[in-house]
């Protein structure tokens, strides 16, 4: 259990934090890259934590995140794209 949580923590520090960092710097498109990465990294993080906590009902959260963050980024891309 702790191992899974630890893996989650490592992933947060090593991938999610840099992704969020990218998401708050630079031009809108550069930020979008960070956002896309943050959404993508958060899914495995939440999966690891779900098993780490031993609560299978939490699985719905990464599932919804995966679908929505993907859709969100596409919509963002389209709107930013047609603006510039």
């Amino acid at each position: 259990m702790t191992l899974l949580l630890g893996a989650g923590l490592v992933l947060i520090l090593g991938a999610l934090a840099p992704a969020v960092w990218l998401g708050v710097r630079g031009s809108a498109l550069e930020r979008l890259v960070g956002l896309q990465m943050a959404g993508a990294v958060l899914v495995p993080v939440l999966l690891l934590l779900t098993y780490g906590y031993g609560q299978s009902s939490y699985l719905i959260v990464p599932l919804v995140l995966a679908v929505l963050s993907f859709a969100g980024v596409l919509v963002f891309l389209r709107l930013l794209d047609s603006r510039s």
Partner: protein
């Protein structure tokens, strides 16, 4: 006021309040402690009502009046935004819009794959809201987002064809009314409670979840439609 004066006034006030807040936080029970009297009563009541998701039980049963108010805030905001964003007499939608062109094939394909998936996920959230995390609000927003994937795949026109707004206003109004009715009646949870952790349990909670899901979904669609219309099709002097 000058910028400097403004920031000085704010800074003074904020400093006082920050100190007060810090002192207040220092006097609170420790983080992560086990003193939660209201929680204990709520969990007991939720189990008595056979509702496995205690948050759903609080939202739709024990503190249903809050949710009635919240639902009305949503309704009021949607109506308000529709009224505020109504086209002015000097504004007309313009036909040619480059964003209405279908997107590249890859994006369109992905969107078509995701569309049913998203809708299914939304329904799942609604139906199991009393058993697992999720519920009407989340499900409704997911449904609305799913519908807007159409914007990606088929362009704005496809979305507009699939989304006769008057109809959504009907759904929004009726489901909200239904929620208000059910919510008022649900000030007593009158249906049989069933057994906890079963699909048919928790009395009125799942029904309210589904009603709220449609109301929220319809509301979000109407809301986004107003913004999309403003941003994409309205020309005028604006």
């Amino acid at each position: 006021m000058s910028r400097r004066a403004r920031q000085a006034v704010f800074g003074t006030g904020a400093a006082v309040l920050a100190v007060l807040f810090a002192l207040a936080a220092a006097g609170l029970p420790p983080f992560g402690g086990d003193q939660h009297p209201y929680r204990d009563r709520a969990v007991a009541a939720a189990l008595h009502q056979a509702t496995a998701n205690v948050v759903a039980s609080l939202t739709f049963d024990l503190r249903g009046l809050d949710t009635l108010g919240e639902e009305m805030i949503l309704l009021g905001s949607v109506v308000g935004a529709v009224a505020l964003l109504r086209p002015r007499p000097d504004e007309k939608p313009h036909a040619d819009d480059k964003t209405s062109r279908p997107q590249q094939d890859a994006v369109a394909l992905i969107s078509y794959v995701f569309l049913p998936l998203t809708l299914l996920l939304g329904f799942d959230l609604l139906v199991h809201g009393h058993l697992t995390p999720g519920g009407g609000f989340q499900g409704g927003v997911v449904l609305a987002t799913g519908l807007h994937l159409l914007y990606l795949s088929g362009g704005y026109d496809a979305l507009r064809r699939l989304r006769p707004l008057a109809w959504y206003e009907w759904v929004e109004g009726l489901t909200t009314a239904a929620f208000a009715l059910a919510g008022t009646a649900n000030l007593v949870n009158f249906l049989p409670h069933g057994r906890v952790q079963q699909l048919f349990s928790a009395g009125t909670v799942p029904i309210l979840n589904i009603l709220v899901g449609f109301a929220v979904g319809a509301g979000a669609v109407v809301l986004l439609a107003q913004f999309l219309t403003q941003a994409i099709t309205l020309e005028g002097e604006g």
